[in-house]
Amino acid sequence: MEKLLEVKDLAVSFKTYFGEVEAVRGISFHVNKGETVALVGESGCGKSVTASSIMQLLPMPPAFYKRGQILFEGEDIVKKSEKEMQKIRGNKISMIFQDPMTSLNPTMRIGKQIVEGLIKHQKLSKKEAEEKAIEMLNLVSVPQPEKRIKQYPHEFSGGMRQRVMIALAMVSNPKLLIADEPTTALDVTVQAQILDLMKSIQEKLGTSIILITHDLGVVADMCDRVIVMYGGQLMEEGTVYEIFKEPRHPYTRKLLGSVPRLDMSRSETLHSIPGTPPDLYKPPKGCPFYDRCDEAMVICKEHMPEKEYHTNTHYSCCWLNHPMAAGVAEGSGE
């Protein structure tokens, strides 16, 4: 498998009046060609900041890259100038957002918004670009595209707008698509349509997708690999089957336990996670999940655990999985 994107020890912070917020604190992962990787976590865990920093979309200042590299096709994005980024953004890497109403320009016809990128990046003539726009709207199943390209975003329903966003993102045939909660604002029946659409487009064009979501059902449906993020750090990574069947980090287990299953009896209690995520103004020295973890040990408070590999593709960062801790875990009589 060829690596398309490789993030190495990335740390991103925000300078604020009250001090530095360490939103992303040294994460490493990669995305292969043609695969879908899920970035899962609760609000404030740093998943959207990670996505935006791959696109260099964060306002700088207050944001800044503290350390690390983002290698896209072997080149480091962190070092790119704004001018160089404009050649990558919307061309080789595209992004779709949660709320299509705020990410489309309300004063511009849909057609013009799609055509804009084509004329800029691919140097097509206006007529060629328009034909391509109609072809794209067809691909994302927007009915009557010839008529629709002359309409404004408010004339579309939520699901249709998200289709337009996907057409807009895919029109330049990007190598990487970053989808930040693409179906969270949609109803389940529309969500099912959009997820199917993303899958079929990926098959046709071979795009890699980073899917950011908190919906574990969507992850189970769409993704090849899953990365679990918490408090600005990676807690666990594995194939979708490894994560759902054999989660090794207590946080992953709790997260999976806190969603009701359709086969669950009503008398079962839902496993909630007490407390709230850590404050990233003063990030904890040790494991960020320490405060909420009921299996926490003394060492967890002081030292962040290293990656512990369970298979070639599956690792977790938890002291419980440290080879020396095996005795402790058994001894505590779970």
Partner: protein, 330 residues
Amino acid sequence: MVEPLISVRNVKKYFDVGGGKTLKAVDGISFDIYPGETFGLVGESGCGKSTAGRTIIRLYEPSGGEVIFNGKNIYELSHHDMQAIRRDFQMIFQDPYASLDPRMTVEDIIAEPLDLHKAYKNADERHDRVIELLKLVGLNEEHASRFPHEFSGGQRQRIGIARALALRPKFIVCDEPISALDVSIQAQVVNLLKELQEEMGLTYLFIAHDLSMVRYISDRVGVMYLGHMMELAKSEELYENPIHPYTQALLSAIPIPNPEVQRSRHRIILEGDVPSPIDPEDNCRFVERCPYATKICKEKEPDFVEVLEGHYVACHRAKEILDKKLTSTK
């Protein structure tokens, strides 16, 4: 036979949208809610579930129908009598940021219903009751003097719940109480609502679009589509044996957090979007997207009939679908 706490009969809520057009948000729904139960109301955005919740407790003036509570039709009560009966009805809102006044302390927020109904003798009694309520929802005494912005989403929702419980209500409308919260916090709030129900014998109308959560919390569930009730049954029955084609599609669209199960499922993908609720025709509201639609569905509105014990469906072809299901399982 247990008497229902609330009987909703043919309740309607129309909005005049100008130009002689009417938006029929809720168009004649009927059901009973029994004491101590949780009645779940599900449907996609714009189906009228929130409007239904608000119309039932008369936060919106109804356009028709009746709601019987304690033997009285609350839609016929005077403003003054309604005020008195409001003590028994409360509401928990979706957005824990918008539903708490940012300039009031938590103590004043929670005590506001007590102030309005003059439910205490002196300041000490008021304060004690607030502390008692805070403890009930898992917060503590120190929180009373703080302001809403000092709390996280989950904690704010707890404050909203404490306020709703202040007057010891019988019936609470929970309008998407957890959809703005993170997964791990959702479970905290749902577990709290369940505990409170057991302790205080509360009755809930639980409105949500998260179908797995509704199944988990509700005794009975009603499915709405464009202002109509499409199907109503006990929650296990509805999820295991959905009859209405819309319910079937809706349930099949929920992604299940288990990759093996999810990837081998058959999904019913509905074509198109929910049509506009402005001046709808008198036919089955689902007809345009329904894979089972026939001629009669376009001409006549189906009745809401009991096809199995306690299982109601509004579909012309319900009998056929049910028979087919029964023969295929044999």
